[in-house]
């Protein structure tokens, strides 16, 4: 009898909480190209209108930093496909950070490990790290929760999206907004949908992008696809397949990279393979921003590879010219026309709708929105 009372009580409380708890609205009209493949949204953080609205506001809000001078958008600017144009980012401390700001596009696909060294496994987990990093946003999470609770707008937004204001819900909202940042209307997407033809130069570049060279069958290739998938152009999804050592440094200069996360010495110098979508907008390039132009990037892959133990064998082996087989000299040996063609193809990955989309823009700028 006592246990029956208990059950009834639990059911009543459960029903009551269910009644007063938020009932957010599932995000309407959310689509992505099927060629991107399947995606998963965490069961405990569904895509809802309220969460997107809250996440967008948090993303652009300088209150998220300790001294209220820096927001997520300081290093992730929409007009640069959510990068910052710097070799390495600078946060509240004014110190140059270790890494280049990564573009935020199509984050539900590609590698499930975030940061250049793959140290977290979800966008939720990722979101809280820069906020607390002493050089990035230097914010204490408890202080942030107090600030948001004292704000005019946030208590209502949190209440309708999740319920309470908590670090977990801040992370959930930021992750949800980031999941909506889908770039799928570049010239390449339009080409994939059959809406247009690429120019002869872009088409040559596309073919080179999509091919590992094979002299034996006279197939010329730029070798890009060995790390950047054909539709997403990001790194691969499975396990740590989306991390690679792309020959930037000799053994002596190699930094830890993925080794930091896995503890495996064979992962030293491997970094996350980024998406190439909007790559023409996201200079400087590489995890440390060492290259300022796409021409330098192509020159690196074509003739600048530095050998180290974890260097990708696919990069070592790729060559468009026969070698004597004794003195192996690593070079792609693309000609100037081919290098220009690959760059022309990379420009077809620019998505103007993505960088001008209202839904992704700064909600605090609503009155002073620049023309698209």
């Amino acid at each position: 009898m006592l246990s029956l009372c208990g059950l009834v009580l639990i059911a009543t409380i459960y029903g009551f909480v269910g009644y007063i708890g938020p009932k957010p609205t599932p995000l309407q009209g959310f689509t992505a190209p099927f060629v991107f493949g399947n995606f998963k949204v965490p069961v405990d953080n569904p895509l809802t209108q309220e969460a997107v609205q809250l996440g967008r506001r948090l993303f652009y809000d300088k209150q998220l930093s300790g001294d209220n001078t820096v927001s997520c958008s300081t290093c992730h600017l929409q007009h640069l496909a959510f990068t910052d144009g710097r070799a390495r980012s600078v946060g509240v401390s004014g110190k140059m950070l270790d890494f280049n700001s990564m573009s935020l596009a199509n984050l539900m696909w590609g590698s499930r490990h975030f940061f250049w060294n793959g140290r977290v496994d979800s966008l939720e987990e990722q979101a809280l790290a820069p906020i607390q990093h002493p050089d990035e946003m230097a914010q204490n999470l408890d202080d942030l929760i107090d600030e948001l609770a004292a704000d005019d707008v946030y208590p209502g937004l949190f209440k309708s999206a999740y319920g309470e204001i908590s670090a977990e819900n801040i992370a959930r909202a930021l992750a949800t907004f980031e999941r909506t940042l889908i770039s799928s209307d570049s010239k390449y997407d339009q080409y994939l949908r059959g809406e247009l033809k690429l120019s002869a130069e872009e088409e040559l570049g596309r073919k080179l992008f999509m091919a590992h060279p094979d002299i034996k069958v006279s197939l010329r290739g730029g070798n890009c696809i060995d790390c950047h998938s054909q539709f997403l152009t990001s790194g691969f999804n499975a396990q740590f397949d989306g991390f690679s050592n792309n020959g930037l440094d000799t053994e002596a200069l190699l930094t830890s990279g993925l080794q930091f996360t896995t503890g495996q010495v064979t992962d030293r110098g491997k970094f996350k393979v980024p998406t190439l979508r909007n790559i023409a907008l996201t200079a400087p390039y590489m995890h440390d921003g060492r290259f300022t132009t796409l021409e330098q990037v192509l020159d690196h892959y074509n003739e600048g590879i530095r050998v180290s133990d974890s260097l990708s064998p696919l990069i070592m082996e790729a060559d468009n010219q026969p070698q004597d087989g004794v003195n192996i000299r690593i070079s792609l040996n693309l000609n100037e026309e081919e290098k220009r063609a690959v760059i022309a193809f990379l420009h077809t990955l620019t998505d103007h709708n993505f960088i001008t989309e209202d839904k992704f823009s700064n909600p605090f700028d609503a009155d002073t929105k620049p023309d698209a």
Partner: protein
């Protein structure tokens, strides 16, 4: 009267028990396939140049090794059961260097043979839909005009001071190898005996034709080279004898 009642209760219980038994044994269950990787008579250890070039000088190391297992058919007394959408990417970069497939919803039957392919069928190979482990944005995809790598081996051959990259990407429809294994004992779903196979990575270079890695350090799009490796990998999987047989 009392006696009659207890007899009918007993019969009722018996019938219910029998019905439950019949119901349970007619339900589909799970069948486990396990693939353990070895390199000849040695264990598989990644990133360690401990293996001899089978056809020449030098030692080689394995950075990556994975392949597709597809179109799994179970041959039972009641017929052949084809696992739907059975496209599995077998990879062995884990602590037990083995790959396990739990086949769900397998109809209740006594199975005496299993067939599956190394590689994928022509329809799947020409498609960009994500089915099973087939993912056109994965490292096993070449591009939509070429299809999938059926087997991927990457590593290096080290001979004195020379490090030579090894890249073996084998695909093309003609290189799908369908293998049949007759089981020494019939298996049923949910039986504790998993179907255990041994995958010998070395057979890729020794199965039918012995390969000198220095002479053939990479195979990608050349049809003859790809066929040579495919004929080799067609021999790399065997049923692991059970412990009883091995004794």
């Amino acid at each position: 009267m009392r006696k009659l009642l207890s007899i009918s209760v007993a019969i009722g219980l018996l019938l219910t028990g029998a019905a439950i038994y019949v119901y349970q044994t007619s339900q589909p269950g799970t069948l486990r396939m396990r693939f353990d990787a070895v390199v000849g008579d040695q264990p598989l250890v990644f990133n360690d140049a401990r293996y001899s070039n089978p056809g020449g000088a030098g030692m080689f190391r394995i950075r990556d090794f994975q392949f597709f297992i597809s179109n799994i058919d179970l041959h039972g007394e009641k017929g052949v059961y084809r696992l739907p959408d059975s496209y599995y990417l077998a990879r062995f970069d884990n602590s037990s260097t083995s790959y396990q497939i739990d086949l769900a919803n397998v109809p209740r039957d006594r199975y005496s043979a299993v067939t599956f392919s190394i590689g994928v069928d022509e329809v799947a190979n020409g498609s960009i839909m994500s089915v099973g482990d087939l993912d056109p944005n994965s490292r096993m995809a070449w591009n939509w005009e070429v299809g999938y790598k059926f087997l991927l081996f990457e590593g290096a051959l080290i001979d004195s001071d020379t490090i030579r990259p090894l890249v073996y990407h084998v695909g093309f429809n003609e290189n799908r190898k369908t293998l049949r294994f007759n089981l020494p004992e019939e298996v049923a779903p949910d039986s504790s005996d998993a179907l255990i196979f041994t995958v010998d990575v070395l057979a890729l270079f020794t199965g039918k034709t012995t390969v000198d890695m220095a002479a053939l350090p990479s195979v990608k799009f050349d049809r003859d080279d790809a066929r040579l490796l495919a004929d080799n990998y067609g021999t790399m999987i065997s049923l692991t004898p059970t412990t009883d047989d091995a004794q």
